[in-house]
């Protein structure tokens, strides 16, 4: 059994295709582990075997973040306001992966409407980090990240708006890819911030990320106006050196505010890249320090509008006993949304208000343009930009819940790429002791490339991964 659990998703797919492994047995193995989940990583687990499937991902179970619509299966985006909501249709990306043969194993816990960096904002309780169950797994795709790290699923789908795939991947010691904006259809993803949201894979290794991602992209989805044809097929990475690869390290994102242990692991990885033939130099992203401020205007502004549909009229929770319409709206949204969601709705509503629009939304859009220009300038000199994924290792549950700004700083290194719409991957690059002492925890290394450079990004990440040889096994016991 442990041999089977040790198989990567790609390994399992190969074994099933070769007739060495039974897909039904594999599914049942993971189904039992997911159902016995001690991390609160899952909010729904399949209650029986999946229908027979075919395709390149045949038989490899897939965990899907709660916010993806899955026909007839609860899709709640971590919110009480959608408790028990079962959509009548499935998200395009879920349909594509199902068609490629991956059966739905379960739905994973997340921060409510993907707003958070610790998965403590879930309406269904926090997720625990399998490396240390007193600590958070990161967020918002914390359920997916924890489930992959604890081998409750071979792989998982997450979404990233400002770091929600990369940061939990870093904190859980796995691989997470945030794609180029537009590469993956958003149809059927319960929206947080439309101009930033992207679905991506959370996997044990880079090969699995490439395998899953290759089935998520392709022809543009006619149901998502912002989706684009991916210009080339995604190939499985094979490169083992980095000869001629130019890596830029932005001084703004790789120094101040980063925990010493994280910085040490990051710098050791840069050294490893050099030893593989890469050149590593400082580069400048002068507007990157303003990214977080711009993000916390733009994302809440879009969210305040995207979340208006949760009004108690048609689906989801409705407060009972209201005497008239406005009271029904107010009480439904007061009771149904958590504190962080309400905070961001208020921030966004304020930022879009008449008389404030230019000072907030307008200025934040201009910052966004500047950041994209910074990256364009960097990519004229470098193939990739490298930063630590998160400024610190996994923190203790409750450590930052009372201080939203401290929580927001988790996305300091990931938000600039989101605003620029470019792809970025986080791979585990080692362990570091948390600031207060204790067992060492995973550190993430982020590599970002220009739009649609995913093949190159996966190739470089694969070469580094081989050299790092990170051991992803956690102390988690089922």
């Amino acid at each position: 059994m442990n041999d089977i659990l040790a198989l990567s998703a790609a390994g399992a797919a190969k074994a099933i295709a070769a007739g060495e492994l039974d897909g039904g047995e594999l599914f049942e193995l993971y189904r039992e582990r997911a159902a016995a989940d001690r991390l609160n990583a899952f909010v729904w687990v399949a209650d029986g075997p999946p229908p027979p499937s075919d395709g390149p991902l045949r038989g490899v179970p897939l965990a899907v973040k709660d916010l993806f619509c899955t026909e007839g299966v609860p899709s709640q985006s971590g919110s009480r306001i959608l408790e028990g909501y079962r959509p009548p249709y499935s998200a395009t990306v879920v349909e594509r992966l199902t068609a490629a043969g991956a059966p739905l194993l379960g739905k994973t816990n997340q921060d409510e409407f993907a707003m958070g960096s610790s998965t403590e904002n879930s309406g269904f309780g926090p997720v625990l980090n399998p490396w240390d169950r007193t600590r958070v797994p990161g967020g918002s795709s914390g359920g997916s990240a924890a489930a992959v790290a604890a081998r409750l699923t071979p792989w998982a789908l997450g979404t990233d708006t400002g770091g929600s795939i990369r940061q939990p991947a870093a904190l859980c010691g796995i691989v997470g890819l945030k794609p180029t904006y537009g590469a993956v259809s958003r149809y059927g993803m319960i929206a947080f911030a439309s101009s930033l949201d992207q679905a991506g894979p959370l996997t044990r290794d880079v090969t699995d990320a490439a395998l899953l991602y290759g089935r998520m992209v392709g022809a543009r989805d006619p149901r998502d106006s912002t989706s684009l044809d991916f210009p080339e097929p995604i190939v499985l990475p094979a490169r083992t050196e980095l000869a001629g690869v130019r890596i830029g390290v932005p001084v703004e994102l790789a120094g101040e505010g980063i925990e010493p242990g994280v910085l040490a692991a990051f710098e050791a990885t840069l050294e490893l890249a050099r030893s593989l033939g890469a050149s590593v130099e400082q580069c400048a992203l002068p507007h990157a320090p303003h990214a977080l401020a711009a993000y916390y205007v733009l994302a809440p502004a879009e969210a305040s509008s995207n979340l208006a549909r949760f009004d108690g009229v048609r689906y989801g929770y409705r407060a009972s006993g209201a005497g008239e319409l406005t009271e029904m709206y107010t009480r439904t949204r007061h009771d149904g949304f958590g504190a962080e969601v309400k905070r961001r709705i208020m921030l966004g509503t304020y930022a879009l208000s008449s008389g404030y629009y230019d000072a907030f939304y307008g200025r934040a859009q201009r910052v966004r343009t500047k950041i994209a220009e910074d990256f364009a300038a960097a990519f004229a000199r470098f193939d990739f930009v490298a930063t630590p994924t998160a400024p610190g290792v996994a923190f203790e549950l409750g450590a930052k819940t009372a201080d939203p700004l401290a929580m927001y700083l988790n996305d300091f290194c990931t938000v600039p790429m989101s605003l620029a719409g470019i792809p970025a991957i986080s791979i585990p690059c080692g362990l570091a002791e948390p600031p207060g002492g204790g067992p060492a925890l995973p550190v993430g290394f982020q590599l970002a490339g220009s739009a649609f450079s995913e093949n190159a990004l996966l190739g470089a990440a694969f070469a580094l991964e081989q050299a790092i040889a990170f051991d992803g096994s956690t102390p988690y016991e089922a």
Binding site: Y187, D224, S304, S305, V313, T349, L352, S354
Partner: protein, 480 residues
Amino acid sequence: MNGTLEPVIGLEIHVQLATATKMFCGCELSFGEPPNTRTCPVCLGLPGALPVVNARAIHFGLMIGLALGCELAQRSIFHRKNYFYPDLPKGYQISQYDEPLCRGGSLAGVRIHRVHLEEDAAKLIHLGASGRIHGSELSVVDFNRGGTPLVEIVTEPDLHSPSQAREWLELLRATLRSLGVSDVNMNEGSLRADANVSLRLAGSDQLGTKTELKNMNSFRFLEQGVTAEIERQRGIIEAGEEVVQETLHFDPSSGAITSLRSKEEAQDYRYFPEPDLVPIATTEEMLTAAREAMGELPAARAMRFERELGLSAARARQLAFRGELGDFYERALAGGSADAVTLANWVGGELVARTGDDDPAASMVEPAALAALVALLGEHRLSVTAAREVLDVLVSEGGEPAAIVAARGLGALEDAAGLAEIVARAIANDPAAAEQVRAGNPKAIGALVGPIMRETRGRADGAEVTRLIRAELGLQPDGD
């Protein structure tokens, strides 16, 4: 208060487009289907659903922009207009804001401010005695209409009377109908008008405080509502008080105007660019397709009727602005040898008097038959009275004018000697009238014509009778 007050009126018109499917999803448009049968995740605003722009709606929008002489944007974008209401499933309406599809332009001297695309709201039905939200027992939502493509046309405040506003809206409707972009039916809500009304001192270029009168669902209600609002504002101003900026509802049954909300209660819609849609890039191909899809517009048709066929301006507008009348007229004109002006007067006068607001093509009269009737009249083979009788038959039964004339013995009296005898007898019977005619009173001739027409049962040609009377009395044939 010195000087006279002049009304200043601008219109905001919402037009439901006659596309096959909704503005942002593939649902077919609804025409009275059972509630909530023309819906999908997109138009129900389900979580995760995304809009996709209907290309046909953009095509229709461009046609409207061309017809109104607008400047068509090379790039336009959609915005979200945010507010909560149960008929708005997403909590925002996808509309256009500061980068609309069309700007500027004019129609019949009224400047167009802008033309933009948006989606219609769903329909709220309030169950209970009142039929309105207050006092209802239960309100339900029918999402069939939600997401229907709308074009909003906003004019500058260039109208100055209720009747002018009505006439202009009729021209706009005729224009939209001729484009084939909408059913333009005010009763069914495919054409809806709001009016912005203010008063100012005649000659001033300063605008007074305006009010917005919502949703008048017929031309008559528009005229009545604007008239009532002008009077209300006049009363306020003449009493030395100030008009308050507010949104108003006009109740046509009582004539009452009530406030819906004041400026202070006006919502902040928090417009921002719709991130789920990419900008509309208007290509040369799209413009060509829109140009090629357009036929002759009513204003141009009226001009042609006036210049090329010699119709009066009023008759030309009547036939051109009610496109079905113009179509009937042109078919009749093509199919016969009738005089264009007389034929136009018969279509716009006698025929409309019989068919009312209905399309005459739906009656029993064939255009060629009306042309033949007018031709008989022109050849003096029929009196006007007899021709009216023939038209009655054509409208109710159809048929050929010549055959009807023969069957009913309605032909003009061809026996000149017989008619001359009747004329002589009439003069002999009323020497006083004859004397007055001789003395130069032209009106007196009626007293002689009447008995002649009675005796000939209307078959005598009026002009011929007049000529004979004057000859009998020794007067010049055409002198008055």
